[in-house]
Amino acid sequence: MALGRYLLKRCIVALLLIFLVASLNFVIVHLTPGGPQTIFLLNPHISPQGRQLILKQFGLDKPLYVQYEIYIVGMFTGNWGTSYFYNEPAFSVIAQRVPATLLLMVPSLILTILIGVLFGVIGARKPFSFVDRFLSSLAFFFYAMPAFWLGFVLLTFFVLYLHVLPAAGMTSTTGGGSVTDILSHLLLPMASLTLVNLANFSLLMRSSLMEVMDQNYITTARGKGLSERLIFFRHAMRNAMLPTVTMTGLFVGFLLTGAILTESVFTWPGLGLLTFNSIETRDYPIILSLFFMFSIMIITANLVTDVIYGFLDPRISFD
């Protein structure tokens, strides 16, 4: 009952938020200098009249408030407009890229969480031991690297020196598409994403575990004579997981936004690359649809995180 009311309230707020963000997106995109027509300036053959014709085809000759109305109504009714440079509905252009992004981001996120939590647990079991400091340093080492630079290092090393992994893309040029083929293409971008994000989870897990282990109820548990193992995994872990869940929620929000830099370096045909290219050409329908989708993703992920919180932490109620 309380949960239902809470959800309803949150959903209304979320919708309002999405509307505000969508409006803000429109303003930001139209504030960026230049427009889709500027790409045609590169070709001197295209006459000013021709450029006007193109603007008309794009619907950019209409007053801005009319464009805004078309945009907002379209976004909430599922008509996301037609891409200028794909000549296809923006929704289908985006939908084609979603699987590639999920294929990269989901395993990488799972791997990051698993290894991160593992590192954190190992470290927190024996804080300030050699192993703890070693793992922390290792996580910091990769965290400090720019993702694209690590990507190039991995590429140079595994592709140019070892010749063991393919250079770019998601599948081989021909005969590609098998599971092993895609996996071999996936390995490097996934590894670079995982390594760079590792510290987020391992350090968080470690510090929250250590914090929990100092709590009174742990002392109580020790006093009851429970084994250290039981205390650690049953009593401490559950509470220490909370910040990690928040972090996971934030990362799930970024799942679809893709890793723009990593996708660029590895030419991974996902949403990150699409975002990058669309911003370059000012393909408004694609940019706005992507931003719209990202905001929905992040707002939803936050909502879900809050709900999960309630189940993990009995102290939180949905009133």
């Binding site: 300036l41 000013p48 050699f130 703890d132 070693f134 070892l162 010749h163 250590m210 660029s264 690359l273």
Partner: protein, 675 residues
Amino acid sequence: VRDKLVALMVALLFVVAAVPLGSQHSQISHSAATTAGSNVLVIGDTTAPDTTDLNPIKIITTYYMAETYSSMIGWDSQGNLVPLLAQSWSVSASGLNYTFNLRPNLEWSDGQPLNSSDVAFTFNLITEQSPLWYYLFSAIQVPNSSTVTGESLAPGSITTPNATQIDFNLLTPASTFLIYAGGQPIYPEHYYASQNLTANNPNLSTMVGSGPFIPTSYTPGTELDMTANPHYFGGAPHLSGVIFKYFTTSASAEIALESGAIDLLQGVPPPDVSTVAKTPGIVIGTEEDQSNIYLIFNMYPELADNTTNPVSNILVREAIAYALDLPGILNASFGSSQYYKLANQIEVPNMYYNGGPIQNTTIPNPAYPQNVTYAESLLKLAGYPNGFTLSLIYPSGGIASAGTAVTLKMVQLMQSELSQLGITLNLISDDSTDYNNVVFNANPPKTWNLVLSVISESPDGDVAPFYMVSSLGGNSGAGGFNAGGYNVTAFNNLVLEEENTTGAGRVALFQQIDGYIYQQLPVLEIYYEIQIVAWSNQFQGFELGLGNPWHDYWGSLKMQSLANVSYVGSATSTTSSSSSSPSTTSSSSSSMTTSSSMVTSSLVTSTSTSTSMTTSVVTSTSSITSTSSTTSSSSSTLLIAGAIVVVIIVIAAVAALMMRRRPGGSGPAASNPTT
């Protein structure tokens, strides 16, 4: 002890992870050809086409369709017109009637006949539906408010007396009609007539063409697949297909080339050439393309913010021209004189006029030899003895394909040379969309004094004067290409006269135009771009050079010539270069007699770093490619792998040991010291 054990285990894990990777090396072949089926050429590019580029009426980047659709006339590397779909053509003495005769028995890739009605269909399609390209054929068009473009073909302007003959009847003479109409790719009527190309792109899985390769599938931003056309009029291509792979950064593309994932890379940045050339089995070719890089002077006396614009004064423009040591600046920026060609204030170094280069000798060479004292006296005369401040806008991604580093060095050297005159040059970099907006789209008077810009010239030489410095092709106003706003009636008339002149008189008009630009300096031309192409010596037959004016070239690689490219593998490479590019070699020897040659082709191999104007033989040592080289180096690469892993572990371990001093205290991530 247990801690140490865990650390050891983690270290072992890394080593173990590296070992199976290292041992698999032999399964991966160096050549993309072997992985992609030996008869497929994989080409790398850093700019992916939009899907609209595969739509005949919406193309912006033209070379993919130039591969798919043949035109009636092409150009050889010396600028001679050569027959493609048309076997002959003629122009009437009045310059108003053009006749093209197609080859007999031409076929589309689906076996349907290609005839004159397809040609008539094409010009009708472009005229009525292509906002981007209808403009080229204004001489046969009349206004019509019911079409997308607002134009339609003038009645009787195109007639097809029989299946192979097409007659064009122009309303006014147009000097460029022959090359634009002849160079227009011809589209299949039976395939496109029923399609609504404004609303939908053609379906690639059923696409029909007349060029050597036809697109079969495209994953936007990633890969474009093309298959050979068995009905190609020049005979079935040797390759079974061509694949374009797209990269966001040239560094990724270079890694792909060096690893053999791609076979050809167009537009290698000059600073990276030496690294790429070191890779065994890679051939480097350079070729001038038609990009002219130049400085635009803002011609308005006041800028948008009402400040005085000194460069609107011809004396100041001359002072700047004489103050710059352009050869020195370019040599220092590119690192070698191989990668640019000095422009010397001539629109096109060799104008191609009705087949054959014509050298313009009316401009002194160099046009403005560096003379700082003379430049200083010009500034004094102009009333600026103490100098002034100017702004220079340049694209942050680099000008044309020079790359960021080369471009930055170029403008910085200009900055330092102008500072000798007391001119402070503020360098402003803008991303490409911003740049186009500020430079071309903004209303005059603009906000800048100088802009580093590029214009793609057609080999005929009509583009630059018309669009760059006259107010004829899109005025100096918003959206015009004439960004500086140079607008002089006498000059406009001269250009108009050239546009409407067919016959030998055009050459004299071009020389007058060049002379005008030399004296008035509305733009300072800097260099012509040299494209650098790198490819695997397992393929031969590439032809670098000019394409037809409708961009049947990609930088410098002639798209239709890919029909002659074949896979030779590594074994037969001793014979590779002798036949690799017959036209570039023959043309370079002949054009070297003129001082500025349009075609300066050279082949550099990984073993012979010297550039040679004749063919250089790819030696067999370089062509025994990676299969052997990787085997011999496998142990060393494994060692390097191990070494790197060890280094990382040592770094982490050292860091761990250094943090040792504070056990139990507030460590790096201990957020809750209980007090």
